[in-house]
Point group: C2
Chain length 208, copies 2
């Protein structure tokens, strides 16, 4: 699948490397700001200031604010894919799902989980046009979806639930406001919070 480009000259490679590094710095800043304040409250001026370049330079790399957000979402989806691949293949599907939700909540509590409004329509439209975003999203969804169905067949996850409902529930844990509120109360450690919310997610609120 790799394109048959000519052997890379050092100069071009160096330039490309610089370019990539700059863009990575931009996306990292966007990611942080999206996690801190969300899409609407984040301004392009803040991003430029955070990266340390002029706003017009930003627009040479990304044609719109929506594309900045999309890039941050692609980045976190790629981080997710990388996490998924660290999970031992021998683990039970349920354990992999739990580990993934745990990881996502830790990312969120670390202030590194970008959050987009689930309502903003112009943003959603742009995301749905973004091939890189869609591909990463589908790939993560397929991976998780496979584990969900396996866990349901194994009787570990309630087989009466549609798999899509389970998938949405897991995705929703990644942007759940509850961990953040508990963290903001200042009374509990991140470890406690993650354990509780993870328990609530899989075991429910009820006593067993």
């Amino acid at each position: 699948m790799k394109s048959a480009t000519a052997p890379k000259s050092p100069k071009i490679s160096f330039k490309q490397h610089m370019l990539q590094a700059r863009e990575e710095a931009i996306v990292q800043t966007v990611n942080r700001l999206l996690a801190e304040k969300g899409f609407d409250a984040m301004t392009v001026d803040e991003v430029a200031q955070g990266v340390g370049i002029a706003k017009a330079s930003l627009y040479k790399h990304f044609p719109s604010k929506e594309d900045l957000a999309a890039a941050a979402m692609v980045r976190v989806l790629h981080r997710t894919q990388a996490h998924l691949q660290t999970l031992p293949a021998a683990d039970a599907p349920l354990d992999k799902l739990k580990a993934t939700v745990r990881w996502a909540m830790e990312v969120q509590l670390a202030g590194e989980m970008p959050s987009l409004p689930s309502q903003n329509s112009s943003l959603r439209a742009k995301l749905m046009e973004n091939a890189a975003y869609l591909e990463a999203l589908v790939q993560v969804s397929d991976q998780l979806g496979g584990w969900i169905e396996a866990a349901q067949k194994a009787g570990q996850i309630n087989p009466q639930l549609p798999a899509i409902a389970v998938l949405y529930t897991l995705f929703a844990r990644a942007c759940d406001p509850v961990p953040g509120f508990l963290q903001a109360s200042g009374q509990y450690s991140d470890t406690e919070i993650v354990d509780w919310v993870l328990g609530i997610c899989f075991e429910g609120l009820n006593s067993r």
Copy 2:
């Protein structure tokens, strides 16, 4: 607690009634728009157009966009209080909590649950200055909190969880994106969706 006003003259009463009706119409429109598009995407122009009055007239009733949102939140909290009082006192605390979450999800699926960004700081600041909002919020929280602790003592809700974590989890169900996504897929009835999400909330994703 009623103020000792002079016996109301018909004229004043009528005027006041008109005023209240107009404000109720405003808040109802705000409520709908907040449910549809959220605080940031809602514009004051839309509200004015929805009510059928000029924007400047809106500002005679409510001094800012944030105050509009606060009024909608107070309205939904009052609706919640009214719902809480319909619950039979004889019911077990756990059943009352379940019925309340079910009710909130039905309101949400009906497009009547206003949603505010949990991040917007200027909005949160204004809300925290709003006495009516705070009072209603505290009253609802106290009511639910009491039931939560009772259910934990009765061994119906996991007593190892801090009550505040349970409370936040229940509040979060009222603005959970999962029911809306399932509804948007068009494959399931509202009844199914509510049953599933309610089950996930209390029983968890796992099989029992």
